[in-house]
Protein backbone atom coordinates (compact mmCIF):
# COMPACT_ATOMS: atom_id res chain seq x y z
CA UNK A 1 0.00 0.00 0.00
CA UNK A 2 2.84 2.38 0.83
CA UNK A 3 4.45 1.68 -2.50
CA UNK A 4 1.13 2.27 -4.24
CA UNK A 5 0.85 5.59 -2.41
CA UNK A 6 4.38 6.56 -3.27
CA UNK A 7 3.78 5.98 -6.96
CA UNK A 8 0.40 7.70 -6.86
CA UNK A 9 1.89 10.80 -5.19
CA UNK A 10 4.79 10.86 -7.59
CA UNK A 11 2.42 10.72 -10.56
CA UNK A 12 0.22 13.48 -9.20
CA UNK A 13 3.27 15.61 -8.67
CA UNK A 14 4.42 14.89 -12.22
CA UNK A 15 1.01 15.84 -13.62
CA UNK A 16 0.90 19.14 -11.86
CA UNK A 17 4.44 20.07 -12.75
CA UNK A 18 4.30 19.10 -16.41
CA UNK A 19 3.05 21.63 -18.95
CA UNK A 20 1.38 18.94 -21.06
CA UNK A 21 -1.50 18.40 -18.66
CA UNK A 22 -2.16 22.14 -18.38
CA UNK A 23 -2.11 22.50 -22.14
CA UNK A 24 -4.45 19.54 -22.55
CA UNK A 25 -6.89 20.99 -20.02
CA UNK A 26 -6.66 24.43 -21.61
CA UNK A 27 -7.36 23.09 -25.07
CA UNK A 28 -10.28 21.10 -23.73
CA UNK A 29 -11.80 24.06 -21.91
CA UNK A 30 -11.27 26.33 -24.90
CA UNK A 31 -12.88 24.12 -27.51
CA UNK A 32 -15.69 22.84 -25.31
CA UNK A 33 -16.63 26.40 -24.35
CA UNK A 34 -16.64 27.47 -27.98
CA UNK A 35 -18.98 24.56 -28.68
CA UNK A 36 -21.08 25.51 -25.68
CA UNK A 37 -21.29 29.06 -26.96
CA UNK A 38 -22.41 27.90 -30.36
CA UNK A 39 -24.92 25.35 -29.10
CA UNK A 40 -26.38 27.29 -26.22
CA UNK A 41 -25.83 30.99 -26.65
CA UNK A 42 -26.12 31.28 -30.42
CA UNK A 43 -28.59 28.46 -30.98
CA UNK A 44 -30.85 29.63 -28.08
CA UNK A 45 -32.59 26.30 -27.38
CA UNK A 46 -36.04 26.36 -25.87
CA UNK A 47 -35.22 23.67 -23.32
CA UNK A 48 -32.44 23.41 -20.78
CA UNK A 49 -30.79 20.07 -21.40
CA UNK A 50 -27.27 18.94 -20.47
CA UNK A 51 -27.22 16.81 -23.58
CA UNK A 52 -26.86 19.98 -25.64
CA UNK A 53 -23.24 20.12 -24.57
CA UNK A 54 -22.40 16.69 -23.13
CA UNK A 55 -22.29 15.04 -26.54
CA UNK A 56 -19.59 17.40 -27.76
CA UNK A 57 -17.71 17.27 -24.48
CA UNK A 58 -17.54 13.50 -24.42
CA UNK A 59 -16.37 13.34 -28.01
CA UNK A 60 -13.56 15.71 -27.08
CA UNK A 61 -12.37 13.23 -24.48
CA UNK A 62 -11.21 11.07 -27.39
CA UNK A 63 -8.62 13.75 -28.15
CA UNK A 64 -7.83 15.05 -24.69
CA UNK A 65 -7.43 11.85 -22.70
CA UNK A 66 -4.58 10.48 -24.88
CA UNK A 67 -2.71 13.70 -24.15
CA UNK A 68 -3.21 13.22 -20.44
CA UNK A 69 -2.25 9.56 -20.29
CA UNK A 70 0.53 9.41 -22.87
CA UNK A 71 3.35 10.10 -20.44
CA UNK A 72 2.36 7.50 -17.83
CA UNK A 73 4.78 4.76 -18.84
CA UNK A 74 6.40 6.25 -21.95
CA UNK A 75 8.21 8.77 -19.79
CA UNK A 76 9.54 6.07 -17.50
CA UNK A 77 10.92 4.15 -20.46
CA UNK A 78 12.45 7.26 -21.97
CA UNK A 79 14.14 8.36 -18.75
CA UNK A 80 15.20 4.85 -17.86
CA UNK A 81 13.32 5.11 -14.58
CA UNK A 82 11.44 1.92 -15.36
CA UNK A 83 14.65 0.24 -14.23
CA UNK A 84 14.09 1.78 -10.82
CA UNK A 85 10.45 0.73 -10.62
CA UNK A 86 10.91 -2.75 -12.01
CA UNK A 87 13.89 -3.56 -9.79
CA UNK A 88 12.21 -2.20 -6.67
CA UNK A 89 10.23 -4.48 -4.37
CA UNK A 90 7.02 -2.99 -5.79
CA UNK A 91 4.77 -5.44 -7.56
CA UNK A 92 3.69 -4.67 -11.10
CA UNK A 93 0.08 -4.38 -9.93
CA UNK A 94 1.05 -1.70 -7.41
CA UNK A 95 2.97 0.26 -10.02
CA UNK A 96 0.21 0.11 -12.62
CA UNK A 97 -2.62 0.83 -10.18
CA UNK A 98 -0.70 3.70 -8.59
CA UNK A 99 -0.31 5.32 -11.96
CA UNK A 100 -3.86 4.56 -12.99
CA UNK A 101 -5.22 6.07 -9.77
CA UNK A 102 -3.40 9.31 -10.55
CA UNK A 103 -4.89 9.29 -14.04
CA UNK A 104 -8.33 8.79 -12.49
CA UNK A 105 -7.91 11.93 -10.40
CA UNK A 106 -7.25 13.80 -13.61
CA UNK A 107 -10.37 12.33 -15.15
CA UNK A 108 -12.42 13.64 -12.24
CA UNK A 109 -10.92 17.08 -12.87
CA UNK A 110 -11.76 16.76 -16.55
CA UNK A 111 -15.38 15.85 -15.83
CA UNK A 112 -15.41 18.69 -13.30
CA UNK A 113 -14.57 21.16 -16.04
CA UNK A 114 -17.48 19.85 -18.09
CA UNK A 115 -19.83 20.67 -15.21
CA UNK A 116 -19.26 24.39 -15.71
CA UNK A 117 -21.78 24.33 -18.56
CA UNK A 118 -24.76 22.86 -16.72
CA UNK A 119 -24.08 25.36 -13.91
CA UNK A 120 -24.25 28.20 -16.44
CA UNK A 121 -27.39 26.64 -17.93
CA UNK A 122 -29.07 26.40 -14.54
CA UNK A 123 -29.29 30.21 -14.43
CA UNK A 124 -31.67 30.12 -17.38
CA UNK A 125 -33.99 27.35 -16.33
CA UNK A 126 -34.20 24.23 -14.19
CA UNK A 127 -31.95 21.26 -14.85
CA UNK A 128 -33.18 17.73 -14.36
CA UNK A 129 -31.00 16.84 -11.38
CA UNK A 130 -31.50 13.06 -11.63
CA UNK A 131 -30.45 13.16 -15.24
CA UNK A 132 -27.46 15.29 -14.28
CA UNK A 133 -26.33 12.80 -11.67
CA UNK A 134 -26.59 9.78 -13.96
CA UNK A 135 -24.83 11.78 -16.68
CA UNK A 136 -21.96 12.55 -14.33
CA UNK A 137 -21.71 8.90 -13.30
CA UNK A 138 -21.73 7.94 -16.95
CA UNK A 139 -19.03 10.44 -17.82
CA UNK A 140 -16.86 9.32 -14.92
CA UNK A 141 -17.18 5.70 -15.99
CA UNK A 142 -16.47 6.64 -19.59
CA UNK A 143 -13.35 8.63 -18.74
CA UNK A 144 -12.16 5.87 -16.41
CA UNK A 145 -12.37 3.37 -19.26
CA UNK A 146 -10.69 5.79 -21.64
CA UNK A 147 -7.88 6.42 -19.18
CA UNK A 148 -7.33 2.66 -18.95
CA UNK A 149 -7.02 2.52 -22.73
CA UNK A 150 -4.52 5.41 -22.58
CA UNK A 151 -2.59 3.66 -19.81
CA UNK A 152 -2.36 0.54 -21.91
CA UNK A 153 -1.19 2.50 -24.94
CA UNK A 154 1.54 4.16 -22.88
CA UNK A 155 3.05 0.78 -22.04
CA UNK A 156 3.60 0.12 -25.72
CA UNK A 157 6.17 2.74 -26.62
CA UNK A 158 8.73 5.07 -25.13
CA UNK A 159 7.68 7.85 -27.47
CA UNK A 160 4.86 9.94 -26.11
CA UNK A 161 3.63 10.85 -29.58
CA UNK A 162 3.34 7.23 -30.64
CA UNK A 163 1.53 6.48 -27.40
CA UNK A 164 -0.89 9.37 -27.83
CA UNK A 165 -1.71 8.39 -31.40
CA UNK A 166 -2.15 4.74 -30.44
CA UNK A 167 -4.60 5.55 -27.68
CA UNK A 168 -6.36 8.08 -29.90
CA UNK A 169 -6.85 5.44 -32.59
CA UNK A 170 -8.14 2.92 -30.05
CA UNK A 171 -10.56 5.38 -28.51
CA UNK A 172 -11.77 6.55 -31.89
CA UNK A 173 -12.37 2.94 -32.85
CA UNK A 174 -14.62 2.48 -29.83
CA UNK A 175 -16.31 5.76 -30.63
CA UNK A 176 -17.02 5.06 -34.28
CA UNK A 177 -18.05 1.48 -33.55
CA UNK A 178 -21.67 2.62 -33.69
CA UNK A 179 -21.32 3.91 -37.22
CA UNK A 180 -19.60 0.73 -38.30
CA UNK A 181 -22.30 -1.32 -36.70
CA UNK A 182 -24.99 0.72 -38.45
CA UNK A 183 -23.31 0.48 -41.82
CA UNK A 184 -22.53 -3.23 -41.62
CA UNK A 185 -25.64 -5.28 -42.04
CA UNK A 186 -26.65 -8.46 -40.21
CA UNK A 187 -24.77 -10.30 -37.52
CA UNK A 188 -21.54 -8.30 -37.70
CA UNK A 189 -23.45 -5.16 -36.82
CA UNK A 190 -25.06 -6.95 -33.91
CA UNK A 191 -21.66 -8.06 -32.72
CA UNK A 192 -20.13 -4.60 -32.91
CA UNK A 193 -23.03 -2.68 -31.43
CA UNK A 194 -22.41 -3.57 -27.75
CA UNK A 195 -18.86 -2.20 -27.93
CA UNK A 196 -19.83 1.30 -29.02
CA UNK A 197 -18.94 3.61 -26.17
CA UNK A 198 -21.36 6.35 -27.13
CA UNK A 199 -24.41 4.11 -27.26
CA UNK A 200 -23.47 2.80 -23.83
CA UNK A 201 -23.26 6.37 -22.62
CA UNK A 202 -26.65 7.30 -24.07
CA UNK A 203 -28.64 5.56 -21.36
CA UNK A 204 -26.77 7.50 -18.64
CA UNK A 205 -27.51 10.74 -20.44
CA UNK A 206 -31.19 9.87 -20.56
CA UNK A 207 -31.22 9.42 -16.81
CA UNK A 208 -31.15 5.62 -16.90
CA UNK A 209 -28.68 3.73 -14.77
CA UNK A 210 -28.36 0.49 -16.71
CA UNK A 211 -26.45 -2.29 -15.00
CA UNK A 212 -25.18 -3.72 -18.27
CA UNK A 213 -23.78 -0.35 -19.29
CA UNK A 214 -22.12 0.21 -15.93
CA UNK A 215 -20.62 -3.23 -16.17
CA UNK A 216 -19.44 -2.53 -19.72
CA UNK A 217 -17.30 0.41 -18.66
CA UNK A 218 -15.98 -1.35 -15.57
CA UNK A 219 -15.07 -4.41 -17.61
CA UNK A 220 -13.39 -2.30 -20.26
CA UNK A 221 -11.37 -0.58 -17.56
CA UNK A 222 -10.36 -3.83 -15.91
CA UNK A 223 -9.39 -5.42 -19.22
CA UNK A 224 -7.05 -2.61 -20.17
CA UNK A 225 -5.49 -2.32 -16.72
CA UNK A 226 -4.80 -6.06 -16.72
CA UNK A 227 -3.45 -5.82 -20.27
CA UNK A 228 -1.07 -3.06 -19.15
CA UNK A 229 0.21 -5.23 -16.31
CA UNK A 230 0.70 -8.09 -18.74
CA UNK A 231 2.57 -5.98 -21.28
CA UNK A 232 4.93 -4.69 -18.58
CA UNK A 233 5.43 -8.13 -17.10
CA UNK A 234 6.27 -9.31 -20.59
CA UNK A 235 8.97 -6.69 -20.90
CA UNK A 236 11.02 -8.65 -18.42
CA UNK A 237 11.06 -11.46 -20.97
CA UNK A 238 12.08 -9.28 -23.85
Amino acid sequence: MRRFNAIFRKEMHAYFTSPTSYVAFAVYVLISSILFYMNFVMFQPSIIDFRLVSGNATFMYVFVIPLLTMRLFSDEFRQGTDELLLTSPARMTEIVLGKYAAALVLMVVLVGFTLIYPIVMSFYGTLDMKMMITSIIGMLLLTAAMAAVGLFASTLSQHQMVTAIASFVMLLTFWTMLDWAASSSGTLGEWLMPFAMNTRLDSFMKGVLNGADVLFFITLTAVFVVLSIQVLERKRWR
Binding site: A6, I7, K10, G80, E83, L86, T87, P89
Partner: protein, 372 residues
Protein backbone atom coordinates in the same frame (compact mmCIF):
# COMPACT_ATOMS: atom_id res chain seq x y z
CA UNK B 1 24.77 -14.64 -1.06
CA UNK B 2 24.27 -14.39 -4.80
CA UNK B 3 24.13 -17.48 -6.89
CA UNK B 4 23.93 -17.24 -10.66
CA UNK B 5 23.44 -20.65 -12.10
CA UNK B 6 23.62 -21.52 -15.80
CA UNK B 7 21.92 -18.28 -16.67
CA UNK B 8 21.28 -17.57 -20.34
CA UNK B 9 19.41 -14.84 -22.09
CA UNK B 10 18.22 -15.07 -25.65
CA UNK B 11 17.12 -11.98 -27.46
CA UNK B 12 14.95 -12.33 -30.53
CA UNK B 13 17.70 -13.34 -32.90
CA UNK B 14 20.99 -13.15 -31.12
CA UNK B 15 22.22 -14.70 -27.93
CA UNK B 16 22.76 -12.16 -25.17
CA UNK B 17 24.29 -14.20 -22.41
CA UNK B 18 25.05 -17.91 -22.46
CA UNK B 19 25.20 -20.11 -19.41
CA UNK B 20 26.83 -17.75 -17.00
CA UNK B 21 27.71 -19.40 -13.75
CA UNK B 22 29.16 -17.75 -10.67
CA UNK B 23 28.55 -17.11 -7.02
CA UNK B 24 29.35 -14.18 -4.80
CA UNK B 25 30.04 -14.29 -1.10
CA UNK B 26 29.12 -11.65 1.43
CA UNK B 27 31.59 -8.79 1.58
CA UNK B 28 33.09 -9.34 -1.83
CA UNK B 29 33.63 -6.51 -4.28
CA UNK B 30 33.53 -8.05 -7.70
CA UNK B 31 34.60 -6.18 -10.81
CA UNK B 32 32.67 -7.09 -13.89
CA UNK B 33 34.56 -6.41 -17.09
CA UNK B 34 33.97 -6.94 -20.75
CA UNK B 35 33.94 -5.09 -24.02
CA UNK B 36 30.82 -3.21 -25.01
CA UNK B 37 28.02 -5.56 -25.95
CA UNK B 38 29.54 -8.51 -24.12
CA UNK B 39 26.48 -8.89 -21.90
CA UNK B 40 27.47 -7.03 -18.74
CA UNK B 41 24.36 -4.89 -18.53
CA UNK B 42 22.14 -7.81 -19.51
CA UNK B 43 23.62 -9.93 -16.73
CA UNK B 44 23.19 -7.14 -14.21
CA UNK B 45 19.64 -6.58 -15.33
CA UNK B 46 18.88 -10.25 -14.80
CA UNK B 47 20.44 -10.25 -11.35
CA UNK B 48 18.36 -7.24 -10.34
CA UNK B 49 15.17 -8.74 -11.74
CA UNK B 50 14.68 -6.18 -14.48
CA UNK B 51 14.94 -8.95 -17.04
CA UNK B 52 14.03 -12.58 -16.61
CA UNK B 53 16.63 -15.06 -17.79
CA UNK B 54 15.67 -17.40 -20.61
CA UNK B 55 17.30 -20.27 -18.76
CA UNK B 56 18.98 -20.93 -15.44
CA UNK B 57 18.28 -19.52 -12.01
CA UNK B 58 19.33 -16.59 -9.86
CA UNK B 59 19.18 -16.90 -6.10
CA UNK B 60 19.79 -14.14 -3.58
CA UNK B 61 20.23 -15.18 0.02
CA UNK B 62 18.36 -18.36 -0.77
CA UNK B 63 15.47 -16.49 -2.38
CA UNK B 64 14.86 -17.42 -5.98
CA UNK B 65 14.39 -14.44 -8.27
CA UNK B 66 11.73 -16.21 -10.30
CA UNK B 67 9.64 -17.37 -7.36
CA UNK B 68 10.06 -14.68 -4.71
CA UNK B 69 10.75 -11.77 -7.05
CA UNK B 70 9.56 -8.92 -4.86
CA UNK B 71 11.26 -10.23 -1.74
CA UNK B 72 14.51 -10.94 -3.52
CA UNK B 73 14.45 -7.52 -5.17
CA UNK B 74 14.16 -5.84 -1.78
CA UNK B 75 17.63 -7.15 -0.96
CA UNK B 76 19.19 -5.48 -3.98
CA UNK B 77 20.28 -1.95 -4.69
CA UNK B 78 20.83 -1.15 -8.33
CA UNK B 79 22.39 1.79 -10.08
CA UNK B 80 21.82 1.44 -13.83
CA UNK B 81 24.11 2.99 -16.41
CA UNK B 82 22.04 6.16 -16.46
CA UNK B 83 20.86 7.00 -12.95
CA UNK B 84 17.07 6.53 -12.86
CA UNK B 85 16.04 10.03 -11.81
CA UNK B 86 12.91 12.10 -12.34
CA UNK B 87 14.05 15.51 -13.58
CA UNK B 88 10.99 17.34 -12.29
CA UNK B 89 11.40 16.14 -8.70
CA UNK B 90 13.52 17.70 -6.01
CA UNK B 91 16.34 15.75 -4.38
CA UNK B 92 14.36 15.45 -1.17
CA UNK B 93 11.09 14.32 -2.72
CA UNK B 94 12.97 11.82 -4.88
CA UNK B 95 14.71 10.27 -1.90
CA UNK B 96 11.42 10.11 -0.04
CA UNK B 97 9.80 8.43 -3.02
CA UNK B 98 12.57 5.85 -3.27
CA UNK B 99 12.49 5.22 0.48
CA UNK B 100 8.78 4.45 0.23
CA UNK B 101 9.29 2.33 -2.85
CA UNK B 102 12.08 0.35 -1.24
CA UNK B 103 10.22 -0.39 2.00
CA UNK B 104 12.24 1.82 4.32
CA UNK B 105 10.12 2.00 7.50
CA UNK B 106 8.45 5.40 7.92
CA UNK B 107 10.06 5.94 11.34
CA UNK B 108 13.52 5.52 9.90
CA UNK B 109 13.04 7.43 6.68
CA UNK B 110 14.08 10.83 7.95
CA UNK B 111 17.21 9.47 9.54
CA UNK B 112 18.09 7.37 6.53
CA UNK B 113 17.60 10.24 4.08
CA UNK B 114 19.83 12.45 6.22
CA UNK B 115 22.43 9.72 6.26
CA UNK B 116 22.34 9.59 2.47
CA UNK B 117 22.66 13.36 2.17
CA UNK B 118 25.68 13.22 4.48
CA UNK B 119 27.35 10.31 2.84
CA UNK B 120 27.00 11.62 -0.68
CA UNK B 121 27.56 15.28 0.05
CA UNK B 122 24.12 16.32 -1.11
CA UNK B 123 23.42 18.64 1.81
CA UNK B 124 22.21 22.06 0.77
CA UNK B 125 20.69 20.66 -2.38
CA UNK B 126 17.62 19.05 -0.86
CA UNK B 127 15.21 21.44 -2.55
CA UNK B 128 17.03 21.62 -5.86
CA UNK B 129 15.32 20.17 -8.91
CA UNK B 130 17.08 17.08 -10.20
CA UNK B 131 16.94 18.58 -13.68
CA UNK B 132 19.37 21.29 -12.59
CA UNK B 133 21.89 19.00 -10.87
CA UNK B 134 25.29 18.47 -12.45
CA UNK B 135 26.22 15.07 -13.80
CA UNK B 136 28.31 14.30 -10.74
CA UNK B 137 25.48 15.05 -8.36
CA UNK B 138 23.07 13.07 -10.46
CA UNK B 139 25.40 10.10 -10.20
CA UNK B 140 25.61 10.54 -6.43
CA UNK B 141 21.86 10.75 -6.12
CA UNK B 142 21.66 7.61 -8.23
CA UNK B 143 23.96 5.93 -5.76
CA UNK B 144 21.92 7.22 -2.82
CA UNK B 145 18.86 5.68 -4.43
CA UNK B 146 20.62 2.32 -4.60
CA UNK B 147 21.81 2.20 -0.99
CA UNK B 148 19.04 3.97 0.92
CA UNK B 149 17.50 0.68 2.03
CA UNK B 150 20.84 -0.87 3.04
CA UNK B 151 20.71 -3.68 0.50
CA UNK B 152 22.69 -6.87 0.94
CA UNK B 153 23.76 -6.81 -2.68
CA UNK B 154 24.70 -3.67 -4.51
CA UNK B 155 24.83 -3.77 -8.30
CA UNK B 156 26.51 -0.81 -9.98
CA UNK B 157 26.65 -0.41 -13.73
CA UNK B 158 29.59 1.83 -14.58
CA UNK B 159 29.33 4.00 -11.49
CA UNK B 160 32.21 6.30 -12.41
CA UNK B 161 31.47 6.92 -16.07
CA UNK B 162 31.23 10.55 -17.05
CA UNK B 163 32.57 11.94 -13.80
CA UNK B 164 35.54 14.23 -13.37
CA UNK B 165 38.71 12.82 -11.76
CA UNK B 166 37.93 14.22 -8.32
CA UNK B 167 34.43 12.83 -8.35
CA UNK B 168 35.76 9.49 -9.52
CA UNK B 169 38.04 9.35 -6.50
CA UNK B 170 35.16 10.25 -4.19
CA UNK B 171 32.83 7.65 -5.67
CA UNK B 172 35.55 5.00 -5.46
CA UNK B 173 36.16 5.83 -1.84
CA UNK B 174 32.46 5.50 -1.25
CA UNK B 175 32.28 2.15 -3.01
CA UNK B 176 35.18 0.92 -0.92
CA UNK B 177 33.31 1.94 2.23
CA UNK B 178 30.15 0.31 0.99
CA UNK B 179 32.09 -2.85 0.28
CA UNK B 180 32.66 -3.23 3.99
CA UNK B 181 28.96 -3.76 4.68
CA UNK B 182 27.51 -4.77 1.35
CA UNK B 183 28.38 -7.20 -1.38
CA UNK B 184 29.16 -5.19 -4.47
CA UNK B 185 29.08 -6.14 -8.12
CA UNK B 186 30.32 -3.34 -10.32
CA UNK B 187 30.97 -3.07 -14.01
CA UNK B 188 33.45 -0.65 -15.41
CA UNK B 189 35.59 0.19 -18.40
CA UNK B 190 38.35 1.67 -16.31
CA UNK B 191 40.66 -1.25 -15.64
CA UNK B 192 42.86 0.25 -12.94
CA UNK B 193 39.67 0.85 -10.99
CA UNK B 194 39.24 -2.89 -10.68
CA UNK B 195 42.74 -3.28 -9.24
CA UNK B 196 41.99 -0.51 -6.79
CA UNK B 197 38.56 -1.61 -5.64
CA UNK B 198 37.85 -5.22 -6.28
CA UNK B 199 38.96 -8.42 -4.69
CA UNK B 200 37.73 -10.43 -7.63
CA UNK B 201 37.49 -9.92 -11.37
CA UNK B 202 35.01 -11.43 -13.77
CA UNK B 203 35.63 -10.90 -17.46
CA UNK B 204 32.74 -11.57 -19.79
CA UNK B 205 33.17 -11.88 -23.50
CA UNK B 206 30.51 -12.66 -26.09
CA UNK B 207 28.08 -13.62 -23.38
CA UNK B 208 30.39 -16.01 -21.58
CA UNK B 209 32.60 -15.67 -18.55
CA UNK B 210 36.19 -16.07 -19.67
CA UNK B 211 37.96 -15.21 -16.43
CA UNK B 212 37.16 -15.38 -12.72
CA UNK B 213 40.20 -14.54 -10.64
CA UNK B 214 41.68 -12.26 -7.99
CA UNK B 215 43.24 -9.15 -9.54
CA UNK B 216 46.68 -9.89 -8.06
CA UNK B 217 46.72 -13.38 -9.47
CA UNK B 218 45.83 -12.57 -13.03
CA UNK B 219 49.25 -13.60 -14.33
CA UNK B 220 48.95 -17.09 -12.93
CA UNK B 221 45.49 -17.46 -14.30
CA UNK B 222 46.70 -16.53 -17.73
CA UNK B 223 49.73 -18.85 -17.51
CA UNK B 224 51.84 -15.84 -18.11
CA UNK B 225 55.49 -15.26 -17.17
CA UNK B 226 56.61 -12.75 -14.65
CA UNK B 227 59.23 -10.35 -15.81
CA UNK B 228 61.85 -8.61 -13.70
CA UNK B 229 63.61 -5.39 -14.45
CA UNK B 230 67.21 -5.26 -13.30
CA UNK B 231 69.86 -2.66 -13.26
CA UNK B 232 73.30 -4.16 -12.75
CA UNK B 233 76.73 -2.61 -12.69
CA UNK B 234 79.40 -4.43 -14.66
CA UNK B 235 80.35 -5.75 -18.09
CA UNK B 236 77.35 -6.66 -20.21
CA UNK B 237 78.40 -10.02 -21.56
CA UNK B 238 79.43 -11.58 -18.32
CA UNK B 239 76.32 -10.34 -16.57
CA UNK B 240 74.19 -11.92 -19.24
CA UNK B 241 76.15 -15.13 -18.85
CA UNK B 242 75.50 -15.15 -15.14
CA UNK B 243 71.82 -14.32 -15.41
CA UNK B 244 70.97 -16.72 -18.19
CA UNK B 245 72.77 -19.51 -16.37
CA UNK B 246 70.06 -19.53 -13.75
CA UNK B 247 67.83 -22.57 -14.21
CA UNK B 248 64.40 -20.94 -14.29
CA UNK B 249 65.28 -17.98 -16.47
CA UNK B 250 63.85 -18.28 -19.96
CA UNK B 251 64.56 -14.95 -21.51
CA UNK B 252 67.09 -12.21 -20.99
CA UNK B 253 66.83 -8.95 -22.78
CA UNK B 254 68.88 -5.81 -22.74
CA UNK B 255 66.78 -2.74 -22.34
CA UNK B 256 67.98 0.61 -23.61
CA UNK B 257 67.34 3.84 -21.82
CA UNK B 258 63.63 4.24 -22.11
CA UNK B 259 63.77 2.19 -25.26
CA UNK B 260 62.52 -1.32 -25.24
CA UNK B 261 61.91 -3.81 -27.94
CA UNK B 262 60.27 -7.14 -27.54
CA UNK B 263 62.53 -9.92 -28.59
CA UNK B 264 60.80 -13.25 -28.66
CA UNK B 265 61.94 -16.32 -30.43
CA UNK B 266 60.06 -15.78 -33.68
CA UNK B 267 61.07 -12.17 -33.93
CA UNK B 268 64.70 -13.07 -33.53
CA UNK B 269 64.71 -14.98 -36.79
CA UNK B 270 63.13 -12.16 -38.68
CA UNK B 271 65.43 -9.49 -37.36
CA UNK B 272 68.93 -10.87 -37.43
CA UNK B 273 70.62 -7.52 -36.87
CA UNK B 274 69.26 -7.26 -33.39
CA UNK B 275 70.43 -10.69 -32.40
CA UNK B 276 73.83 -10.53 -30.86
CA UNK B 277 74.11 -13.72 -28.99
CA UNK B 278 72.40 -17.08 -28.86
CA UNK B 279 73.18 -19.09 -25.84
CA UNK B 280 71.76 -22.38 -24.77
CA UNK B 281 73.37 -22.31 -21.43
CA UNK B 282 73.32 -25.11 -18.93
CA UNK B 283 69.57 -25.59 -19.00
CA UNK B 284 69.75 -29.27 -19.77
CA UNK B 285 72.19 -29.68 -16.94
CA UNK B 286 69.72 -28.05 -14.63
CA UNK B 287 67.12 -30.60 -15.59
CA UNK B 288 65.06 -28.21 -17.69
CA UNK B 289 63.49 -28.86 -21.04
CA UNK B 290 65.86 -28.30 -23.90
CA UNK B 291 63.44 -26.16 -25.86
CA UNK B 292 63.67 -23.38 -23.35
CA UNK B 293 66.05 -21.46 -25.46
CA UNK B 294 67.51 -18.44 -23.84
CA UNK B 295 67.76 -15.54 -26.16
CA UNK B 296 69.75 -12.51 -25.60
CA UNK B 297 69.16 -9.65 -27.82
CA UNK B 298 70.16 -6.09 -28.05
CA UNK B 299 67.89 -3.70 -29.76
CA UNK B 300 68.77 -1.37 -32.60
CA UNK B 301 69.05 1.55 -30.32
CA UNK B 302 71.77 -0.07 -28.33
CA UNK B 303 73.60 -0.97 -31.51
CA UNK B 304 73.50 2.41 -33.10
CA UNK B 305 74.67 4.25 -30.06
CA UNK B 306 77.46 1.98 -29.03
CA UNK B 307 80.45 1.14 -31.22
CA UNK B 308 79.78 -1.89 -33.41
CA UNK B 309 81.21 -5.05 -32.00
CA UNK B 310 81.89 -3.61 -28.63
CA UNK B 311 79.35 -5.05 -26.30
CA UNK B 312 80.95 -4.63 -22.97
CA UNK B 313 80.88 -1.08 -21.79
CA UNK B 314 83.61 0.40 -19.69
CA UNK B 315 83.63 -0.79 -16.14
CA UNK B 316 81.54 1.37 -13.90
CA UNK B 317 78.72 1.50 -16.42
CA UNK B 318 75.41 -0.13 -15.71
CA UNK B 319 73.13 -2.15 -17.89
CA UNK B 320 69.42 -2.70 -17.69
CA UNK B 321 67.96 -6.10 -18.23
CA UNK B 322 64.54 -7.60 -18.52
CA UNK B 323 64.45 -11.13 -17.22
CA UNK B 324 61.57 -13.52 -17.74
CA UNK B 325 61.25 -16.61 -15.60
CA UNK B 326 59.41 -19.79 -16.30
CA UNK B 327 56.15 -20.93 -14.69
CA UNK B 328 55.59 -17.77 -12.75
CA UNK B 329 58.45 -18.76 -10.47
CA UNK B 330 60.21 -16.25 -8.31
CA UNK B 331 63.88 -15.97 -9.32
CA UNK B 332 64.64 -12.78 -7.46
CA UNK B 333 66.57 -14.40 -4.68
CA UNK B 334 68.54 -16.61 -7.02
CA UNK B 335 69.36 -13.63 -9.17
CA UNK B 336 70.57 -11.66 -6.22
CA UNK B 337 72.93 -14.34 -4.99
CA UNK B 338 74.18 -15.19 -8.46
CA UNK B 339 75.06 -11.61 -9.21
CA UNK B 340 76.52 -11.06 -5.78
CA UNK B 341 78.72 -14.16 -6.13
CA UNK B 342 79.93 -12.96 -9.49
CA UNK B 343 80.73 -9.62 -7.97
CA UNK B 344 78.31 -7.50 -9.99
CA UNK B 345 76.35 -5.17 -7.76
CA UNK B 346 72.61 -5.21 -8.28
CA UNK B 347 71.41 -1.64 -8.28
CA UNK B 348 67.74 -2.08 -8.93
CA UNK B 349 65.25 -4.89 -9.23
CA UNK B 350 61.59 -4.43 -9.98
CA UNK B 351 58.90 -6.98 -10.58
CA UNK B 352 56.51 -6.23 -13.38
CA UNK B 353 53.03 -7.56 -12.71
CA UNK B 354 50.85 -8.80 -15.50
CA UNK B 355 48.59 -5.90 -16.13
CA UNK B 356 44.85 -6.28 -16.27
CA UNK B 357 44.95 -4.44 -19.59
CA UNK B 358 47.06 -7.23 -21.08
CA UNK B 359 44.77 -9.92 -19.76
CA UNK B 360 41.68 -8.08 -20.86
CA UNK B 361 42.93 -7.43 -24.38
CA UNK B 362 44.15 -10.95 -24.76
CA UNK B 363 40.94 -12.56 -23.52
CA UNK B 364 38.59 -10.37 -25.44
CA UNK B 365 40.38 -10.21 -28.78
CA UNK B 366 41.88 -13.67 -29.15
CA UNK B 367 38.52 -15.32 -29.05
CA UNK B 368 37.17 -13.00 -31.67
CA UNK B 369 39.64 -14.33 -34.19
CA UNK B 370 39.11 -17.84 -32.90
CA UNK B 371 35.40 -17.68 -33.56
CA UNK B 372 35.67 -15.98 -36.90
Amino acid sequence: MLEVKDVSKMFDERRGVQQIDFTMERGEIVGFLGPNGAGKTTTMRMITGYLNPTGGSITIDGLSMSEHGAKARSKIGYLPETPPLYPEMTVMSYLRFVADLRNVPVREQKKRINEMLDKLGLHGREQQLIRSLSKGFKQRLGLAQAIIHKPDLLVLDEPTSGLDPNQIIEIRQLIRELGEQHTVLLSTHILPEVNMLCNRVLIIHQGQIVLDERPDRLGTAMGQEVSLHLEVKGPTESIIQVVSALPLVTEVQIVGDGFQEACRKEEVDEAPITTMDHTDTGLEGAGQEADLAVQVCVDNYELSTSQPGVLSPQSGETIKLRVVSQDHSDVREALFYALADAGYPLLEMKREMTSLEDVFTRLTTEEDSGDA
